[in-house]
Structure formats: structure tokens, C-alpha cells
Amino acid sequence: MGLLELKNVSKTFGQGINKNEVLSDINLSVEDGEFVAIVGFSGSGKTTLINLINGLLFPDSGEVLLDGSPISGPGPDRGMIFQNYSLLPWLSVYSNVKLAVDEVFSKLSKKEKDAHIRKYIDMVNLTPAVDKKPSELSGGMRQRVSVARTLAINPKILLMDEPLSALDALTRGTLQQEILKIWNQEKKTVILITNDVDEGILMADRIIPLTPGPKATLGPESKVTIERPRNVTQLNQNPEYKRLRNDILEYLIDVGATRKQVSDQKYILPELKPVMPGRVVFGRRRKKEAVKYF
């Protein structure tokens, strides 16, 4: 049995006509120390799925088990890295991390806490910016603070909800490598939610597609057997990578297409003939007037 188990989980929002079954019949088992990526289109219910795991939401049916016992709410044993960083803008980098450390390691002495906080800020290479406010940091730096804050509480599982999707491609690449490096050091269980198949293959041991919602469910999983450390440039030549990428993308596009057919709607377009400006002739032709557009 895995560290984290989801059994026949489904989640519905709304009532009556607005009832919308977002997730249905999700089954997932994550082993200790594993890096699992879940990929899917935006709007397919990825965030709902991760909120079920971190305890911000509860399933309507089925159960979410951590170490064999059902999850009763959010807790620091599941560290969460949010898509929009969720840093507190009135606190400095140090204080943002300190807030979490104070709460989880309340028994440590002041000195130990300080060392602990600085260790994790150093781990994400933010020591020079330790006293800055989030508004003075770039997007990538903010996400690093969020990573440091989450790692500092020493969670059993690291949950990442599209952590890099708001960043530019270059920053994303560096942060991917950094997260992998840290994962390698800390040996945490990680669940990564992403909309980028490449990112999933680059980072994860196992990659699972989530079909588009409503009634989203997990598709067939694929193991990523490419040897670590993985490098983006080498990866592009790797036949295994190409095969995986094509398989998953094809699957996602296929299920997306069938989904579209179900909710096919006919659009009636007004019958209009395109008209070229300046060529319209009302009554008699006015030859002398040149058409001026500007």
C-alpha cells in the first residue's frame, strides 16, 4: 500500500441545474519517495484534485488516505506550493518562511529556528534577498520563497499546483532543475500538477494524464524510465522521451476531441457578404473622388 491512496474519489460542485461533477472515480496510489506528475488541460479539475489531497476540499464519495488513515483537513504534513505563490505581501522573505517554521517547529529555540530558516532560504539561493518584500522580487524568486517556505516545514508529501506555469520559459527551466536538485537531496514524495507534458516527463517518475472535465478521471499512467539526471537538450534526442510525449499528447487530444463531440453545438452564422470599403457604389458612380482612408 502506498503512502497516499485515493480510492474511487469523486467531487461535485453546485446544486440542481448547476450541478457539475468535476472529478469522478479517481484512483491513485503514490509510493514513498516517488515523483508523480499529473498532466491535463486547464479547467479539467487539476486544482480540485490537489485540493482534495491537501485537505482544503473533501470528496463527495470515495476516500483519500494518508498512511492508511483518511485526511481530516489541511495540515503541515502535506506541503503545498501554490500556483500564485501565496506569499504574504507585508512580510519579508525571512518572515514568510518564519511564519511557517514558527507554527510547525514551535518547540525549537530561537537560534535553531533562525538556522533552520536560513538553511532553506539558502537552499533556494535567496540569501541575498532575505530581507526583501515579495513585491520587490521577480516571479521566479517569489516561487522560490514559496518552495523554501514549504520545504522548511518538512512535509511528508510535497504538493505542487502548476508551480511554474506563471513563469517565463527561461526561469521555468532553471527552477525545474533546482526543484529536481532539492528533491534529490531531500528525497520527498512529490505530486506535481502541470499542464506541460514536457515538464512532467522531465521531472517525474510516473506521469498520469487527467481527462478533460466534467467527470474528469485519470487516464492510463506511463512510467518514465529515462535515467536521471535528465537534461533538456539530451532529452530532445531521446527516443523514449519522444515516444512518451507523443503517446500522452495523443491520448489527451483524443479524449479532448471525443469530449467536444458530445457537447457539439451548432452555431448559426448570419449570412453576410464581405464588402470592400471604398468600392461601394450608391446610385451613380462618383469617379473623381479618391478614397481616403486616413
Binding site: 491537501n54 485537505g55 482544503l56 483537513g73 489541511p74 495540515g75 503541515p76 502535506r78 506541503g79 503545498m80 501554490f82 500564485n84 505563490y85 501565496s86 506569499l87 504574504l88 505581501p89 507585508w90 512580510l91 511564519l99 511557517a100 507554527e103 510547525v104 518584500k133 515579495p134 513585491s135 516545514i153
Partner: protein, 365 residues
């Protein structure tokens, strides 16, 4: 140095002087000169225009009032009386001056008079203090209350009293509105439960609040040695002005970004930590916006309340001058009007600076 002084100026609300500093520094002189003219000389021009129009209007009113007086004297007492009246008005004698809107010059004279009045009263006060210092020392030794100056307060004393009343009212408003606002903001059910009360009491006029407070205070405080008028007016000011803070606080607390609350949930903060570490800091900007509105409302309402409550201060000064009907009373009332306006403006500026200090950049959280 330069950037620092610009920053300080902006913080103090004197940002319009910024181009002047650039200009002195020799930076794009022409451009900064235009900016300075636009920013500070144009308001000056409009002030002069205002004073000019005021002067013209006051003169017109003065002339029409004078004409009417002469006409009235002619009808009631004949041609000779009319001529006498005309001569009397032209000579500038106090007894027959037309009583109307005073001109700017007269207001300035009244201002000087009030200032000299203050100087003479404070001199009297210090003399009195010297005179009674020995007696007071003896009385203190015997355990008696010291003798205090009980003469007429000067205009500046009245301003001080008004400021004290507003400060007391503002503190009261803050102490009531912020905690209640936080509690109401945290709970949806409490908000629905008390919304009707806020909506109904918010628009109630200051006068009614004063009467209500009067009813209660009169019964509660029976000791005649306590200054009731101060208590009544400051409580009424507080009650009138607290609604803006209450509404803003509850709104700020209830609309804290969900992301911050999720952080609190994931870290399992308890309710106290949640309030003091997440909710309050996140809603501080809105709370201070509310407090700023509260200060300006308090100051505005204060004058009316003092006027009615007979408590000393600018309001009663205005009312007494109106009742006096002295020949420079109207001018003094207008001096008071400007003082009230300027103090209100300064209070608002102070609150704005505090508010800016408290506001973090929410957009890039």
C-alpha cells in the same frame, strides 16, 4: 539627498514642490519650471481670483445694505435723517455699519484681532499663574484643589478643546468599530445578523445622536463635578463617525485574499494567529481608509455637535459670535470657517500619510 527630500515631501503631501527641487538641481530646467507653474502657481492664481470675487460680492452686498438703510431712514425720519445716516456710514462708525457678508480685508482684521486677543489672554493667564503659585503650593500641601484660571478662553484655546474632543471621539470610534468590524467580518452569520443595524444607524444625523447620548449620559453620570458637555460631545462625535470604519473593517476582513487564508489553513494556524498574522495585516489598508473617513466625518460633525451641546470649542465659538451680533462677529465667523477647513484638511493629510505607510502593494503579492 535629493531623492530623500522628494520622498519626504511626497510623504507629507507636498508633492507639488518636486519639480522645484529638480529645477534647483539643474535638471531639465524648462520642463520642470512648467511643471512647477502648473502645479503650484495655478492654484495660487485661483486663490487670488477667489479672493477678488469674494471682495466684489461683499462690496455689492455692503452697498445694497447701505442703500437700504439710507432709504429706510428717509421714509421713517425724513431727508435730514437720511443724510445723517449716509454720513455716519461713510465715516465708518461702528453703530451704523451695514451688517452683511464681510470683505476679505475685514476678515483679515478679525483674524489679527483674534490673535491679539489670544496674546492678551495668555498673558493674563501667566500673570494669574504667577500670582497664585504660592497659594496653590500651600493648598496642595493642605490637600486642596489648586486654584485655576476661569476667565474667557481665547480662540486658540477653543481650537485646542475642539481637537481634544475630536481625538477622544476618534479614539472611541476606533476602539468600538475596529474590533466589532473584525468580528462581524469574520463571520457571515454575524454579518447578516447585524447588517440591518448598521444600515439603519449609519445615516442617522449627528443631532439625533447627540440627543440620544444626552439622554443616556444625563442618567448615568450624576456627579455634578464631571464635565458632562465634553463627554457628551465626544461620545456623539465617536458614534457618528465610527460607521465608516466599521463598514470598511468588516469589508476588509471578509474580503481577505483566499490564498492567504489557504496558507493559514495549510499551516494549521489557530484562530488568534489567523487573525493577528493573516487577517488583520491583510485588511489594514481598508481599515485605515475607514479611519481616514472617520476622522474627516468626526471633524465635520463636531462643529454641529458643539454648537448644540454648549460644550466649549470652535462650534460654540461660532454660535456665540452669531448670537453676539457685534460689528466684527460676521468676520470672526468666517475666520473660524477657514480655520475649521484648514484643520480638517491637515487632519486628512495626516491620516493619508499614515494610510500610505500601512499600505503594501497588493497588486503584486
Amino acid at each position: 539627498m535629493k531623492n530623500k527630500s522628494i520622498k519626504t515631501l511626497k510623504f507629507l503631501g507636498l508633492g507639488f514642490l518636486e519639480p522645484l527641487i529638480h529645477m534647483i538641481d539643474g535638471e531639465e530646467r524648462r520642463k520642470n519650471a512648467t511643471r512647477f507653474v502648473k502645479g503650484s502657481l495655478l492654484p495660487l492664481v485661483s486663490i487670488f481670483l477667489f479672493i477678488f470675487l469674494w471682495h466684489q460680492g461683499a462690496m455689492a452686498l455692503y452697498n445694497s445694505e447701505a442703500k437700504e438703510r439710507i432709504e429706510k431712514a428717509r421714509i421713517e425720519q425724513g431727508e435730514q435723517a437720511a443724510l445723517d445716516m449716509k454720513a455716519c456710514i461713510e465715516s465708518g462708525e461702528v453703530s451704523c455699519q451695514p451688517n452683511t457678508l464681510p470683505s476679505p480685508a475685514k476678515v483679515y482684521q478679525a483674524y489679527i484681532a483674534l490673535w491679539q486677543d489670544h496674546l492678551s489672554i495668555s498673558q493674563k493667564k501667566s500673570e494669574f499663574k504667577e500670582k497664585v503659585s504660592e497659594t496653590n503650593a500651600q493648598r496642595e500641601a493642605q490637600g486642596l484643589d489648586p486654584i485655576t484660571y476661569t476667565g474667557r478662553p481665547s480662540f486658540l484655546d477653543q481650537i485646542g478643546t475642539s481637537l481634544k474632543t475630536v481625538a477622544a471621539g476618534f479614539l472611541l470610534a476606533m476602539l468600538i468599530a475596529v474590533p466589532i468590524g473584525v468580528v462581524i467580518g469574520l463571520s457571515d452569520s454575524l454579518r447578516t445578523a447585524f447588517n440591518w443595524l448598521i444600515q439603519i444607524f449609519k445615516p442617522v444625523s449627528p443631532v439625533v445622536w447627540l440627543l440620544l447620548v444626552f439622554m443616556v449620559v444625563k442618567t448615568v453620570i450624576k456627579d455634578p463635578s464631571i464635565d458632562k458637555s465634553f463627554i457628551i460631545s465626544s461620545i456623539s462625535v465617536g458614534l457618528c463617525a465610527m460607521w465608516a470604519t466599521l463598514v470598511n473593517t468588516s469589508m476588509g476582513v471578509s474580503s481577505v485574499d483566499k490564498d492567504y487564508l489557504n496558507v493559514a489553513k495549510v499551516l494549521k494556524l489557530n484562530i488568534g494567529q489567523n487573525i493577528f498574522k493573516i487577517v488583520l495585516p491583510a485588511s489594514l489598508p481598508l481599515i485605515f481608509t475607514g479611519l481616514r473617513i472617520t476622522v474627516s466625518v468626526a471633524w465635520m460633525v463636531l462643529i454641529a455637535i458643539e454648537l448644540l451641546a454648549q460644550s466649549p470649542g470652535l462650534g460654540s465659538f461660532v454660535w456665540e459670535e452669531f448670537q453676539n451680533g457685534g460689528n466684527d462677529s460676521n468676520a470672526k465667523i468666517i475666520v473660524a470657517m477657514f480655520v475649521i477647513g484648514i484643520i480638517g484638511f491637515v487632519l486628512d493629510r495626516i491620516m493619508l500619510s499614515v494610510q500610505n505607510l500601512m499600505t503594501f502593494n497588493k497588486g503584486i503579492a
